[in-house]
Symmetry: C3
C-alpha cells in the first residue's frame, strides 16, 4: 500500500501562527496572478512545434542536473539514468532509468527539488501516491499517458499555467528559427527570446571559434575586426528585438566590467581573436564587453541581466565525458561593488539603462 | 481622510509570543535609561548656539542621505529635493521638496528609515496621521511651528531625550570653536568631541593638502617632518581631551594596520607628503598611522574606534557634482583577522588600549 | 543561599511550540543512541592507564582554552588560572584557580561553554546549585571526590556515556604507545588513533625538524629523500591502521591542494627540507601533500578529514609565553571550490576516496 502524496497547504510558510497567517494572506493575493517569466529556461521548439513530450524520464529526469547530480554523488551511474554523453545518449530504457530514480527518491527529502517535483506530480499530473520503488511503474505509466494527450502539449500547459510572458535564451549565433515558427504559427502565447552573447564573448569557451564563424555568417559582418564585431552585435540585437526580445543575458564567471579606451579595447580584441590570450586577457575582454553591451542597451533600451558567480565545469572528468551544464557548477562569492564600478562610472546614472543582477 | 499614524508597541520584536514576552521584558528594563551616545553624528554648533531649526526639509530631509539616495535611485531629481551641490544649495522651495518626499514615502515601507521617521513624527512631533501626499502640507506646518518653539531648541531636546553623554566627531584640523562655546556657555549638557584625524592621514582625500596646512597652523609644528607630524598629533589629541574627548575615530577604507620600523615609517611619510605615492603607499601609510594612533592611545588612554569597510564615493558623477557623503557609500567585506595583527602584535596585550570595531 | 542549577529540558530547541514539538520528537529518537566520535580530542593515555583524574581545575579548566581565553580577554592572569607556560606549569593552588574561574562565571552567560559545563556539572557530577563565588569550594570538593572514585575513572565514564567508538589524533612521529597499551590491556572499549601528519608536512611549524628526525627513526626510511619520505608516510599509515585507525586528519591553514608533476613535487620537497623556502613554498608543499595523502587514501581506504581555515597563534605574545593551542586561533573564510579542484581533478571521481571537510 503506497503512501499518499499530500502537499501541505502551508509548506514553505513560517510555522509560527501569526507570521503564517500573514504568509497565507500574502500568498492568496498573488496565487492566481498570471506568470511573467523573464528568464524561463525553456526550449522554444516546444512552443513552435507543440509536439507531445514522450515520457517521464526524458522530460523530468534527463534534463534536470539537480536530480542526477544528487544521484551521481551517491554513486549512481549516469548512463543508467539515460543522461546524454557528448558521444550520444546511452541506450537505456527510460522506464528502467525512472525506476532507478524512484529507488533513490528518499535522497531528496527536504530539498527544493523534491518540493518542486511533488508539486508537479500532485498538481500537474494528479498523482495521489508518493514516488517510491513500488510506485515507479505507476508513475511512469500515468505521466506517459497524460503526456500523450492534447491537454499536456506545450501550448496547452502554457495556457493552463496562466503564463502571460515567457522569455527563453538564445545565443548570438542562433538563427532564432523556433521563435520565427512561433510567430508565424499565429499562436497567441507570448514567448520571446533573450540575447545571450556569451558564446561569442567568452574566448575560453570551447566552442568560441565555431560560434564566431556562425556569428559572421548570420550578420554578414567582418566579426574579426573590432568595429565589424560590434556592428554584428548591433545587428543581432536588432534581430532579437524583432523576435520580441526585451533583454540581454550575461552569464560570466565574475561580474567584472572594464572601461578601456577605444584603442585599448581594439588591441585586446585583436589579441583574444588571434588566440594568444592569457586567462587574464579573456577575463578583461569579457569585462569590457559588459560595458559595450551596456552602451548598446542605452541605445536600444534592452534590459541587461548579469548572473555571474558560478564556478563552472568543476568536475573535470564529467566535463570530458558529458560536457557543460551537467550539475558541476558551484556558486561562488561575487564582488559586485568593485566589479561593476567601471561600467557604472560610464552609464550608472543613465535613466535608459536597467541592469538586473542575480 | 488621512490614514492614522500608529506605532505598533511591539514593532521590531519577535512575532512568536514566548520570545516577544522576553523582548518586552528586556525592553522595559532599558527604555527609560539615559542615552549615552559615543558616536553621535551631530553638529556641535547646535548645542553651542542653541538656535531654532527652521523647517522639516532642512532638518530631516536634506542632511539624510539614506532618504534622498532612495529617491534618487527611483529617478527623483536631487535639486528638487534641495540637496546641496558643491556649487551651492539649489534655490528649491523647502515646502515643495517636502511634498516631493511625501509623494514617494511609500518607497520606504519596511525600511529602517521609515521606522525611524515615523517614530520621530509620532513621538517627537505628536503627529497623528501618516505622511502621504495629502498630509505633506500639514506635516510641514506642524513641524515648522514646533521647531520655532523653545521646547524644540537643541538643548531642550537634549534634555527631553534624556541624553547623558553625546560625542560629536571633529577633524584634526578643526579649531573646536563650537565645543569651546558649549563649555563657556555654562550649559550643563555633556557634549564632547572625538579626535578623527583621517583628513591629515588619508593622502587620497581630495582636501589632504589644505587639512595639513591647517594642522600646521593649529599646532605650530613642522607637520611635513615625521617627528613634527607625530608631535602635532599629540598636541591635538591633548587639545581634544581638554575639550572632553575620550576617544579617537578612524574611518579607513580597510582595517589594515602596519608595524614599520621608525626608519621605514619616516621614509614612507616623506614619500606620501611629497606627493609621489601610489594607492598602495597611501594604504600602507593609513595602516601605519593606525598603529601610531594605538601607541598614543596607550600613552593618553583614548579609546580607538575603527570603522572600516565602506567603499566610498561609488557614484563618480554624484561625487563630482555633490561631493562626499551623499549616499554613494557601500559596505564591503572587512578582514579584521589579518589586518589588525600588526597593531595587535605591538599593543594587543596592553591593558591600557581599548579598540572598538564597527 | 545558592541558586539552583536547573537545565531547561528544551534548551537549544526552538521557542515556537510547533517546531519545538518536532525538535523534542527528533531528539527523543536519538538521545539514547550510542556515541560514535570520529574526532574525539581526547588523550589515549586516559584509556590506556585508566588513572583517576585529580581535580576540577586540571580536568576542566586548564586544558580548555575556550574558558581561559574568555577570562584572559577580561584581564584575568593566566598564571592565576594555572595555565601551563612553555617554561612549566605555574605553582598555582588548583582550588584558588577554580575560585577565580567561579568568580567570573557570569561572563559565560549565553555561551556554548556554559551550556556545556552546566550540563557536565548537573548530569555528570550531579551538582544541584549554580557555580558562583559562594559555591566554588563546594564544586571543587564534590568534583574532586567524585573524580577519586572508580565510577569516574576514564573507562567507567566511557561506558557510562555509551561511547561505541572514539578516535583520538596522533602525529606521524608518535610511537602510538598509549594505543598499544589500550589494545594489550584487553579492555573492550573501541578507542583508535587517527593519522595526523601535519607535523612532518608543515615546514612552518616550529617543531618540523625534530618531528622529521623522529619520523625517520620510527620508519627507518630516508625521509629527506622524496621517495623515502612518501614511503615513510605509507609505513606509518599502515602502523596507524594496525592501531585501529580508519582516517587521516589534516589541519592546514587553507584547503589549498596542488597537482604537481613528480619532478616538480620532488624539487619542491628538496627545497622545503633544505630550509630555503618561502611561505608560498610552504603553502604549496602542504597543498601537494594533501593530494599525495589522497592518493594513499585511494590505495589504503583511509578517510581524509580536512579542517582548514583557522588563523593560528594570532596572539604573538601568548604564543611566545604559552605556545600553541591557547585560544588564539580565529576562524577565517575558506575557499573550498577552487582550493580542492587540483585534488579532485585527480581523485574526485574515485569511489575509493571519502573526504570530510569541517
Amino acid at each position: 500500500m503506497a503512501r499518499a502524496l499530500e502537499l501541505h497547504p502551508d509548506r514553505l510558510f513560517p510555522a509560527e501562527p501569526a507570521t503564517r497567517a500573514i504568509a497565507r494572506a500574502l500568498y492568496a493575493e498573488v496565487a492566481a496572478l498570471p506568470i511573467v517569466s523573464p528568464h524561463g529556461h525553456t526550449d522554444p521548439t516546444w512552443f513552435a512545434d507543440n509536439a507531445n513530450w514522450t515520457d517521464a524520464t526524458s522530460l523530468l529526469l534527463a534534463p534536470d542536473h539537480y536530480l542526477y547530480r544528487m544521484l551521481y554523488s551517491q554513486g549512481v551511474d549516469l548512463d543508467a539514468l539515460a543522461i546524454p554523453r557528448l558521444s550520444g545518449t546511452p541506450a537505456t530504457d527510460p522506464r528502467a532509468a525512472w525506476k532507478l530514480f524512484a529507488d533513490h527518491y528518499t535522497l531528496f527529502r527536504g530539498t527544493p527539488s523534491r518540493l518542486w517535483l511533488d508539486h508537479v506530480f500532485a498538481d500537474v499530473f494528479g498523482i495521489e501516491v508518493a514516488l517510491e520503488a513500488s510506485t515507479a511503474d505507476r508513475y511512469f505509466d500515468i505521466i506517459g499517458e497524460k503526456l500523450a494527450s492534447d491537454a499536456f502539449r506545450p501550448r496547452a500547459l502554457f495556457d493552463r499555467f496562466g503564463i502571460e510572458f515567457l522569455a527563453t535564451t538564445e545565443g548570438a549565433h542562433d538563427d532564432l528559427a523556433a521563435h520565427k515558427r512561433i510567430r508565424q504559427s499565429g499562436w497567441s502565447g507570448r514567448v520571446v527570446t533573450t540575447y545571450r552573447p556569451d558564446g561569442v564573448i567568452d574566448v575560453e569557451h570551447e566552442a568560441f571559434k565555431p560560434a564566431m564563424a556562425r556569428f559572421a555568417e548570420l550578420t554578414g559582418e567582418d566579426v574579426y575586426d573590432w568595429k565589424g564585431y560590434l556592428a554584428a552585435h548591433r545587428k543581432r540585437r536588432a534581430d532579437f528585438r524583432a523576435a520580441g526580445a526585451t533583454a540581454t543575458d550575461h552569464g560570466h564567471p565574475t561580474a567584472a566590467t572594464a572601461n578601456l579606451s577605444g584603442v585599448e579595447a581594439e588591441a585586446l580584441f585583436a589579441k583574444v581573436t588571434r588566440g594568444d590570450w592569457t586567462p587574464a586577457d579573456a577575463e578583461l575582454f569579457r569585462a569590457q564587453m559588459l560595458t559595450e553591451m551596456a552602451a548598446m542597451s542605452v541605445e536600444d533600451g534592452m534590459v541587461m541581466q548579469i548572473h555571474p558567480g558560478s564556478s563552472r565545469n568543476h568536475n573535470a572528468g564529467l566535463f570530458a565525458s558529458h560536457g557543460r551544464d551537467k550539475g558541476a557548477d558551484i556558486p561562488t562569492r561575487t564582488d559586485y561593488v568593485h566589479a561593476l564600478k567601471p561600467l557604472l562610472d560610464r552609464f550608472g546614472t543613465s535613466t535608459r539603462l536597467s541592469i538586473i543582477l542575480f
